[in-house]
Symmetry: C2
């Protein structure tokens, strides 16, 4: 069986990089989600550097809004090392570059890591059944939310009822709707699939990402993931959004940060 996420992020080499078909199921309004795009770009990079299947770090700069339909990914190897490779890649539609990326790929350990020392504290999230599914109104505006099962912390969904907490934190349980377990590549996308943290600040609306960098730090265990977005610093018309993904064994498997424009009031 082919899971939906794999079918939708598949790439095919054609002599000028790779072609992909961006599925309309991953839209937010009219535009394609930035995280989903990284899954497509990541697959093209992995196919370019055999033996280095996992993204260790990727930085994406979003240049123009991506729409459903055909796209092309053009990777260029910048450095091929023994254990890691650094690749530049553009995702283009027609003549327009949508996103330009730098990424370093390698192999994340399988089984016990040689050395793990995390002082980061796993954030608290009530049991799945006490958390809140995506509100119906949001499912209509954001088609991609039917691709996954997302359950928000009950104290952090006030925005759905017009009373955001104002703390600048959003966290949720996450898994794909069709039962696909997360792997390192899909974490690139999952860090960008919750609503912008500005929802919790009473600033719903489009928060265009300028830059998103993701560190994938371990291969996630099967099961539900816990995802959190938080912002600490709004200034100059922009905000930073820090993301964390913890797996079902309580391990911090990905860290992200993005710089985005503050939605207009």
């Amino acid at each position: 069986m082919t899971f939906e996420y794999d079918a939708h992020t598949a790439v095919t080499p054609d002599g000028d990089g790779f072609v992909a078909e961006l599925d309309a199921g991953w839209t937010v309004g009219a535009a394609i989600n930035g995280g989903y795009q990284l899954g497509v770009v990541g697959n093209a990079i992995a196919a370019t550097v055999p033996g280095k299947p996992d993204p260790l770090v990727m930085s994406a700069y979003y240049l123009s809004a991506t729409t459903p339909g055909p796209a092309r990914v053009r990777p260029t190897v910048r450095r091929m090392g023994g254990s890691i490779a650094t690749v530049a890649a553009d995702l283009v539609q027609g003549e327009e570059t949508r996103v330009t990326v730098l990424g370093t790929f390698g192999t994340l350990e399988v089984g016990d890591d040689v050395e793990v020392a995390t002082t980061a504290e796993e954030f608290e999230l009530p049991p799945v059944e006490e958390c809140v599914p995506v509100p119906a109104a949001m499912r209509e505006l954001v088609p991609m939310t039917s691709r996954f099962d997302m359950r928000f912390h009950p104290d952090q969904v006030g925005w759905a009822a017009g009373s955001p907490s104002g703390r600048g934190v959003l966290s949720a349980w996450f898994r794909f709707s069709d039962g696909r377990d997360a792997d390192p590549m899909s974490l690139l996308g999952i860090v960008d699939m919750l609503p912008p943290v500005t929802f919790d600040l009473g600033r719903p609306g489009w928060a265009p990402t300028l830059e998103l960098t993701v560190h994938v730090r371990a291969r996630p265990a099967p099961g539900w993931l816990k995802v959190r977005h938080a912002t600490r610093n709004i200034a100059g018309g922009m905000f930073e959004e820090d993301g964390e993904i913890w797996d079902s064994t309580g391990r911090l498997v990905a860290q992200s940060r993005q710089l985005a424009r503050l939605p207009r009031r």
Copy 2:
């Protein structure tokens, strides 16, 4: 008067990008500091996008060790917008690319920002005169430390005497030795000028940076800066290092994160 940092990061256009002379005063062992390199690359980018003088965000992927002497920066504009521009740039020496960068430039506000909301808490650092200058042994091994005045938190310099705290935090006062005040461009470098936070974990030694992303969030006020490095997550032979720079008015002016290899034991 020309300050040292400005002379050492100057770039000159020559028809194939920009030429620079990397000064041996910025070495750590035999290699040139990664932050100083971003100052050079940043000047070349700013010269390429007139009217957009300030780095808002820059991501650097380090491909090979940079040495003192001539270098070339080749910027390519990827998107020129009304208020911001995104540029790719390589710093090369001979045939070798040392670092490849993506950056978005614009203009940081002057004077009062329209909207600032920071929940980040300014970290505590005792008065400058109670903090600890760079140990003499380190000044010899790391020539760049004479370019600036750095005063460490007294509780976080145990590593200099062989008894690191193990907390994974390093913080210090910082200013350039010749009195140059920091500006947005120099913050790109200053986030990478403290020792690696692994010193505080009893892991001195070289911690090569794979990737460094810096968000410059405001124009710093004149005077001493407070800089902090912290790591929360060691795994897969790597660690992340989060940096913050606060200015003399208590404003968070830059945030950075890097992924680096753990020094060998």
